[in-house]
């Protein structure tokens, strides 16, 4: 009964946030006119703003939020660490570095290759998993985050190095790396869709074995699962999701932390329940942050990455400040 109530609340919240994002923007369009578009009327100008500018952002925000929320939940269960977040652990930074490299070699952000981003995320994931194998780091949630921060710092300094090589690329990288879903088109969304769907299929296949792996390796083996294979599948899914999201919106830190945190607070530690709750919460947070980004510095817009960091940093402190960090 209680679980059902959570679903109703989170999904209606998402619906509300989506509606707001279509009604509010940095432009001069009145809310009344934007609402008219939703009821099938409205001027050509209003229809353009709502359907061609705000709707693609809504769609991209939805996919990005889904991907980052789910990836965070998976990574946290896999590493048994509530702080394991793609942004904090260097997965996003790996992806950002790969994309910056691609920009330097001539791929403009518009024609950005999702695959490059995902390959970078996969390399980042591999390094994270390697770090968890180091004695002491894997057991201590905060130390893993420190290892991730080190990796992120290294990759960011390499990215800065790329920006020094070519000023022209630097401009493009700088605007992309703060994170934004403004001015993105449907093409970019459809470019990431196949790999996102693939990741979704992997998650559906891996979630049950992963839940048993969370009970211990022996339990998983006893139930007929192969822990090595499960880990590999989850890592690939995380890389596809984070890489795809980063290709769309730039590296967004903290989203993968906040979304599963809220989901667990509502539904408990079971990964299956967490994932179901991440579905509405992830998009809701990104879309709300994006809507806020349009309203703060009219007639310009704030980068989305700034808003998500402002929301996420306090949550990280909250989790660390809690007397005992639960290991998952």
């Amino acid at each position: 009964m209680k679980a059902k109530r959570h679903y109703i609340i989170t999904w209606s919240l998402l619906l509300l946030v989506c509606l707001t994002s279509l009604l509010f923007g940095a432009g001069t369009l009145e809310i009344k006119q934007a609402f008219a578009v939703l009821t099938g009327q409205g001027s050509a100008e209003a229809r353009f703003v709502v359907m061609e500018l705000r709707l693609p952002r809504l769609a991209i925000g939805t996919i990005t939020g889904l991907a980052l929320g789910v990836a965070g939940a998976l990574l946290q269960t896999l590493t048994r660490n509530p702080l394991a977040e793609p942004g904090l652990l260097g997965v996003s930074a790996g992806s950002a570095f790969a994309v910056s490299l691609a920009i330097l070699f001539g791929a403009s952000t518009a024609t950005l290759t999702t695959l490059v981003s995902q390959a970078g995320a996969l390399a980042g994931c591999a390094l994270v998993i390697a770090a968890t194998r180091i004695q002491g780091v894997g057991q201590d949630p905060v130390r893993l985050v420190l290892a991730g921060a080190t990796l992120t710092a290294l990759l960011l300094s390499l990215t800065s190095l790329l920006m020094l090589i070519d000023q022209r690329a630097a401009d493009e990288i700088r605007f992309w790396i703060t994170g934004s879903i403004a001015g993105k088109s449907w093409d970019q969304l459809t470019a990431t869709l196949p790999t996102m769907l693939l990741a979704g299929a992997i998650v559906i296949g891996a979630v049950k074995p992963l839940a048993s792996l969370a009970l211990g390796e022996r339990v998983a083996i006893g139930l007929g699962h192969r822990p090595g294979l499960i880990r590999l599948m989850v890592i690939i899914a995380v890389a596809l999701l984070v890489g795809g999201a980063t290709a769309l919106a730039g590296p967004l830190v903290f989203v993968g932390l906040v979304v599963p945190f809220v989901a667990r607070a509502l539904g408990g530690a079971d990964i299956r329940k967490t994932l179901w709750l991440c579905l509405p919460i992830g998009p809701a947070i990104i879309i709300a942050a994006d809507t806020l980004s349009r309203l703060l510095v009219v007639p310009s817009e704030m980068p989305l990455g700034v808003i998500t960091a402002l929301i996420g940093a306090p949550v990280l402190m909250l989790i660390i400040r809690a007397r005992r960090i639960p290991t998952l």
Partner: protein, 319 residues
């Protein structure tokens, strides 16, 4: 009661001092005092090893017939701006705008350093130990700024007349282009904006920017929609919902891409850009960002005025 001997010696000394001063004055007939942001700087003779730490200074020096030995790269490039490269062959690079490599400056052994108005006191203290350093002290982003700077640099170089000539040449050319604009475009067709396109939206350039002031001098009406903060060269990326603010009959689109069409293609991916009047009418003029948004000085001005005249002539032949 003064001792007669002392008085005598004093008179002699004073006399020779006066004489010495007179002789020195003759020997350094072209000693000049230049008023800079950090006080009056005295320069004598014709400087032979000039280092310019500012694109406007490099341009002014070459325009007045001096070939500097060192310069900084253009914003967004790896060398001095393309437009001036043929005239600055083999020039030493001593850093980027605002990031001077002091050691490379010393290595060039300059006898005069021309810097930008933004040079900090700390940097000035270092540089002025190497050679007399000229830092302009004029209000930034006014139509007069580049002229004042050109005259100042020319004076420091001992080429005040050549500097004045260079400024006049630009003024004459601007008047010429303005005549062309007036005879070709109706009064309500002269509204324009200067922008750079980012994936998020356009950066709108300040009306006081060097190239924007030349557009104005050439008879265009530059409108930055009041969204550029005072003292800033451009706005933050404008939200695509607000492109109505730059929906003028003409848009000059500056790009740092080598391939200008590439920049236009990227901008046209945005449905909001496609709706702009200037895009539908084919009056988006792609211009070189190094020249239009980074450079300054009389030579750059002539090139920019050429670009403007070409755009208007193209319009005249297609309409």
């Amino acid at each position: 009661m003064p001792n007669p001997l002392t008085t005598f010696l004093l008179k002699q000394t004073l006399g020779s001092l006066v004489l010495m001063a007179a002789i020195t004055g003759v020997a350094h007939a072209d000693t000049r005092e230049v008023e800079t942001a950090y006080g009056s700087v005295s320069i004598d003779g014709t400087p032979e090893r000039v280092v310019t730490l500012y694109e406007g200074a490099l341009d002014a020096a070459i325009a007045t017939g001096i070939d500097p030995v060192g310069a900084v790269i253009t914003r967004g490039g790896n060398d001095v701006a393309e437009y001036i490269q043929p005239k600055a062959k083999g020039i030493g690079i001593v850093g980027a705008p605002g990031e001077t490599n002091i050691e490379s400056v010393i290595a060039l052994n300059p006898d005069l350093i021309l810097a930008s108005a933004q040079l900090s006191k700390e940097q000035y203290n270092l540089l002025s130990k190497i050679a007399p350093t000229i830092v302009p002290d004029f209000t930034a982003f006014t139509p007069r700024t580049w002229k004042q700077e050109t005259r100042l640099f020319a004076q420091a170089l001992g080429r005040a007349d050549a500097g004045e000539e260079a400024v006049t040449r630009v003024e004459d050319k601007a008047a010429e282009v303005a005549k062309l604009v007036e005879s070709t475009l109706d009064a309500d067709q002269r509204e324009t904006g200067l922008i750079r396109w980012m994936p998020q939206g356009p950066l709108v350039m300040s009306e006081g920017l060097f190239s924007a002031s030349l557009l104005q001098a050439a008879g265009f009406n530059v409108n930055s929609a009041n969204i550029v903060k005072d003292g800033r060269p451009h706005s933050h990326p404008l939200s695509q919902e607000n492109l109505g603010l730059i929906d003028h009959p003409w848009i000059f689109l500056a790009t740092l891409n080598e391939d200008g069409d590439e920049a236009l293609k990227a901008a046209r991916k945005s449905p909001a850009f496609q709706r702009l009047k200037a895009n539908k009418e084919g009056q988006i003029i792609i211009v070189n960002g190094q020249l239009w948004t980074s450079a300054s000085g009389p030579l750059a001005a002539l090139k920019i005025l050429d670009d403007i005249a070409n755009a208007v002539n193209n319009f005249a032949t297609t309409h």
